[in-house]
């Protein structure tokens, strides 16, 4: 191999993009030609300098979260998007113009209404619901048989969740899974209504006092929660609110 040939292949050699035969040819040439070997080692030095971790620009803190929020908002219908987050044309860097004092003020306003325990829980419920919709996350025990789903929780939870199949009423049970909410493992029962998924999260109430139905909407999802017979229930879905209420009446008559 001549120097010219070796030089023409040197970069592909360096980048591990040569087939074995050519790679060996280049290596043999480098072993016998000091000038090409010097060029090769200069290129390797350059590579080492470029692979310095400090040259990899990491996104600023919170970037992924903000990008995700904007993405979700853009995926929602117009009305929901207005409630749930910034419109797609939103540019957060615009806010970097705010002087620090003003920014602190804005943050204070945003932070001021301390979130109640229910608010935090509602956030967790929505997060759990969204996670469950990701491929392979919906059910640990995919079954429409309540006599399969209910015993599955035995030994996995320290309580036995009430499990009802509501297929005859138009809400077929499709499975169950373990989840973790409010600092404890809970039962999540999965129901379907047409294309819509309903997650019903169940765990024992800390106090034996029934609480009436409360309705909330977050990120376009409806959340209904209540306490009955010593159990906390949260139902979450993108189903219409009145249909979700119908579902709740069937779960807890």
């Amino acid at each position: 191999m001549t120097c010219q040939e070796a030089r023409s292949l040197l970069h592909a050699f360096l980048d591990d993009e040569l087939d074995l035969t050519h790679s060996l040819d280049v290596q043999r040439h480098l072993d016998t030609c000091p000038a090409c070997a010097r060029e090769h080692s200069a290129q390797r030095a350059l590579r080492t300098a470029l692979r310095d971790e400090a040259l990899y620009f990491r996104p600023p803190e919170g970037f992924t979260t903000r990008a995700q929020a904007a993405l979700r908002a853009s995926a929602e219908p117009v009305g929901a998007a207005a409630r749930a987050g910034p419109p797609s044309g939103f540019s957060w860097t615009r806010w970097l113009w705010l002087p620090a004092g003003a920014l602190a003020g804005v943050l204070a306003v945003l932070v001021a209404p301390r979130q109640s325990a229910d608010d935090l829980l509602a956030q967790e419920v929505v997060a759990s619901h969204i996670r469950s919709l990701m491929p392979g996350h919906l059910a640990d025990v995919p079954s429409s048989d309540q006599h399969t789903v209910k015993p599955w929780f035995n030994g996995r939870l320290d309580f036995s969740p009430p499990v009802k199949d509501l297929a005859d009423e138009g809400f077929p049970l499709t499975g169950g899974r373990l989840d973790y909410l409010g600092g404890r493992p809970i039962a999540a029962l999965v129901y379907e209504r047409r294309q819509h998924i309903i997650n019903l999260m169940v765990w024992p109430a800390s106090r034996d006092m029934d609480r009436p139905l409360t309705v909330a909407t977050r990120q376009g999802y409806h959340l209904l929660h209540w306490t009955q017979g010593g159990m906390n229930y949260w139902a979450v879905s993108d189903l219409k609110e009145d249909e979700l209420k119908q579902f709740v009446r069937l779960v807890s008559p």
């Binding site: 970069h11 980048d15 200069a42 300098a49 310095d52 040259l55 600023p60 970037f63 995926a75 990701m134």
Partner: protein, 181 residues
């Protein structure tokens, strides 16, 4: 209107395959725009565009796919705001150092600290900068780079060789000084 559950599944699928590539997307945009704020806006914009096009994505490499969209967004931005960067069509030959500058003595890299390397890399023409960033910093193969930059694999190789030559010249200059043009 499509059922909402389908929308949610599309979002979930997108988030699972494309969102993990956000770091690579930001790194590329940051190198191409050379500033943090525009990089953030452009990646955000590209991400939404990618989501809209996601139903048509059948490939197996979401990273290369997203990076190609980010690259296009960055080039559009460069053309719009920074006319001087890309108005003249890129000519490999014109932007290439001639033979005698490539003599080995000048190519030995001395004490190239990160700041100097970053500066020298930022001063390269954007077409050279992007192949080096994708190859060395992001660690992509020629094939992936060819997909992202929309050039043949052979061009990736020759452009990389030239880009490295240019970078070495930049680094061989006086510390803190500009790049010989």
């Amino acid at each position: 209107m499509a059922p909402r559950a389908l929308d949610e599944r599309a979002v979930a699928r997108f988030e699972e395959s494309v969102l993990p590539q956000l770091g690579a997307a930001y790194n590329l945009a940051r190198w191409l725009t050379r500033n943090e704020h525009d990089a953030q806006d452009l990646v955000q914009e590209a991400l939404l565009r990618a989501f809209k096009a996601f139903h048509g994505f059948r490939g197996t490499d979401p990273r290369a796919w997203l990076l190609a969209i980010v690259r296009n967004a960055c080039y559009t931005w460069l053309r719009r705001g920074r006319a001087h960067e890309v108005t003249t069509p890129f000519d490999e030959e014109v932007h290439t150092p001639d033979g005698d500058v490539l003599n080995p003595e000048r190519l030995v890299l001395k004490e190239a600290d990160t700041t100097r390397v970053r500066q020298a890399l930022e001063e390269l023409p954007v077409e050279f900068r992007e192949v080096l960033v994708l190859r060395e910093i992001e660690g992509l193969s020629y094939k992936e780079i060819a997909t992202i930059a929309d050039i043949p694999v052979g061009t990736v190789m020759s452009r990389l060789a030239r880009a490295r030559g240019r970078l070495q010249i930049g680094l061989a200059g006086p510390p803190g000084g500009g790049v010989a043009r």
